[in-house]
């Protein structure tokens, strides 16, 4: 636990991991410990956010992130509602700003936004009184994913600093990788990036990561391996010739897992493409912590909602 009981987040919004400092990240992770405990009780509900209204504005399809936020909100007793493009006026041509202004007029306390365009949460943050939580914006950031990943690493490894974390897959188009990279660097881990050169963005060297074009090199000696989802539509953009060849060159097989440390843990932000980026038997193997990530996601999101609504480290109702 952070020593000062009244330590709070310095930001009104969670737009990304990049603006946070290491203490704020630790505060969120520590706070999530308490909320994980709540999720294990028979009655999984606390009155912490009673009377607060939270809007889940999901303008891009998402099942797990949205469910995770909704469960977190319910466990904190917040009143929440979910919007998605098919059921809202967005499909009628309303701009994002108008949608936001309309939501704001109903005086919510927080808006959770998922959007296909990078920077959409920043646009909202410019005009909204509510706290904005980025639940994934284009290829930019997915901060709560990185937080739940870090929480899981800490849970399994006891630390983040000093870990060697390999992230393999479509780096160019991944918001998960950016958030993870910022977080892991801030907490002192070594990040190794692996993937086909056609899916590695320029300038990675300036972000202080090791870049390995072959998965074997990336996995060597790592404590954590994180496999990223391969989107089938990337194939049509010519980044690789076939899913079959992708699996042959980059798929995580048992043989390749053995290149990592013996006690390696395997993570995946989901949803998985079995047989594309990950072999079936690996996904279900003993080192897989993929379902722990999902469980921890709820606790981490409860912590984020609690802290953004003004909560402090030491004030948590037991």
């Amino acid at each position: 636990m952070t020593p000062e009981a009244d330590f709070r987040l310095r930001h009104r919004h969670l737009l990304g991991i990049e603006p946070l400092d290491a203490d704020e990240i630790r505060l969120i992770l520590d706070t999530a410990e308490s909320f994980l405990e709540i999720s294990r009780r028979p009655i999984k509900k606390v009155p912490t956010l009673r009377g607060r209204t939270i809007v889940n504005l999901f303008m891009e399809p998402s099942t797990r992130t949205r469910s995770s936020f909704e469960i977190a909100e319910k466990r904190l007793s917040a009143d929440s509602l979910s919007f998605s493009p098919s059921s809202s006026s967005v499909s009628k041509g309303e701009t994002l700003l108008d949608t936001a202004r309309n939501l704001e007029a109903m005086a919510p306390d927080m808006i959770i936004i998922r959007h296909a365009s990078a920077g959409a949460p920043h646009l909202l943050a410019r005009i909204c009184r509510s706290n904005i939580v980025n639940a994934g914006d284009g290829a930019h950031e997915h901060p709560t994913q990185a937080l739940l990943d870090a929480f899981t690493m800490r849970q399994k490894k006891g630390r983040i600093g000093g870990l060697r974390v390999a992230i393999v897959g479509d780096i160019t188009n991944s918001r998960v990788v950016r958030s993870n990279l910022f977080l892991l660097k801030k907490l002192g881990a070594t990040v190794v990036i692996g993937g086909p050169p056609t899916l590695l963005p320029v300038g990675l060297d300036r972000l202080g990561v090791e870049v390995k074009p072959r998965i074997e090199q990336a996995l060597e000696g790592c404590d954590v391996v994180m496999m990223l989802r391969i989107q089938r539509e990337r194939m049509s953009h010519g980044a690789f010739p076939s899913l079959r060849e992708y699996f042959n060159l980059y798929g995580l097989t048992e043989e390749r897992v053995r290149l990592a440390k013996k006690d390696v843990i395997l993570m995946h932000p989901g949803p998985m493409n079995r047989g594309v980026e990950i072999a079936n038997e690996v996904a279900d193997g003993p080192y897989s912590v993929i379902l722990d990530q999902v469980t921890n996601g709820v606790a981490v999101r409860m912590a984020v909602l609690y802290l953004l609504s003004g909560g402090a480290a030491g004030e948590l109702a037991a």
Partner: protein
Amino acid sequence: MNWLLRGGRVVDPAGDLDRVQDVLIRDGKIARVAPGIPVDNVPVLDLAGKVVAPGFIDMHVHLREPGREDEETMETGGAAAAAGGFTSIAVMPNTDPWNDSQSVTEYIVSQARQRSVVNVFPIGCVSKQGKGEELAEIGDMVKSGIVAVSDDGHPVASSHLMRMVLEYTKIFDIPVIDHCEDRSLSEGGVMHEGYHATVLGLKGVPAASEEIQVARDLILAEMTGGRIHIAHLSARGSLELVRRARARGVRVTAEATPHHFSLTDAAVSESAYDTNTKMNPPLREEADRRAILAGLADGTLDAIASDHAPHNAIEKSVEFDHAPFGILGLETSVSISLDRLVGGGVLNLKRLVALYTTGPAGILGLKRGTLAPGAAADVTVLDLDRNVEVDVSSFRSRSRIAPYHGLKLSGAPILTLVGGRIVFDGRA
């Protein structure tokens, strides 16, 4: 229209002049430039301490008329130009309809004559409707007043068409202006491909997208002997290509914009996705910016052009991915240039004036950009000591989109005369 402009520092690169002189204007033309001209019954403008230059020319402007009068019109664009120190503007053909025929050219010319306070020189299309397929009727448009051809905004993708237009325009001795972009490399891109695009998760446009098309255009210009003009050059590789081609004798000219020599892609990060930092070609890296500064100083670049691109504020206030490319430039171009180029010690005042006068006039074949006796009395007066703070709400333009709001600059245009008529007076 008669005036005596008294006691200003006359900077006229066409006449290789930089000296305190009087300028006498009679009947809308320059009558005499000399020290201590004695006159009676001619009104006097005392310009001691100010710079008197030939009227500035912005050779890359989007007026949006006809078609998008909600974004800019002859009146508002003309007033913005005058306030920015410009006496002439060349306007791009990507209006609605495109300026691809004599009738549209004639419409623009006649509307401009009635409603714009500055001279408007239309640029015609390379191809019908800017589609990049068949040549537009360039001869007809030349008869009605176009000074160049371009499918601006729609880069000429077909090498064959580019060859044809470079050959065909030799009949009229007008330049072909190309927005150089290999769309197969830039498709979906919204900012420069580099470190900042990677951090922001935005799709990048590589410098190679511009450089490849510049290289192709130069090869075709060399082969045909036609005249190619590279619009808004943004990448250092393109500059090097132009420099080497010119040394070989290729008939190439090039322009750069104030945003490309004053800002970099870091502005997209620093502004947290402000769509006022989104333009095409995109803001590039510091090394590119420095290369452009060097190109402006050493003559590889012939003109500063603003690429003034008005957009409706509502269309620009959206997700970065969805916002249209482009920002305003007419009302900030000269102050940014004075502050960053002259104030910044990159080049001297005479060179700067050349980039706004003899440079573009030479490219477009205009008998302007000079204070020689007999020339039209287009005059731009500058105050190098005027401190300005950019306030987008004060723009004459119909649009408000610029990444410079609140920027403090030293040096500004204070008086603009077109054909001897005062079209802007910002003297304190």
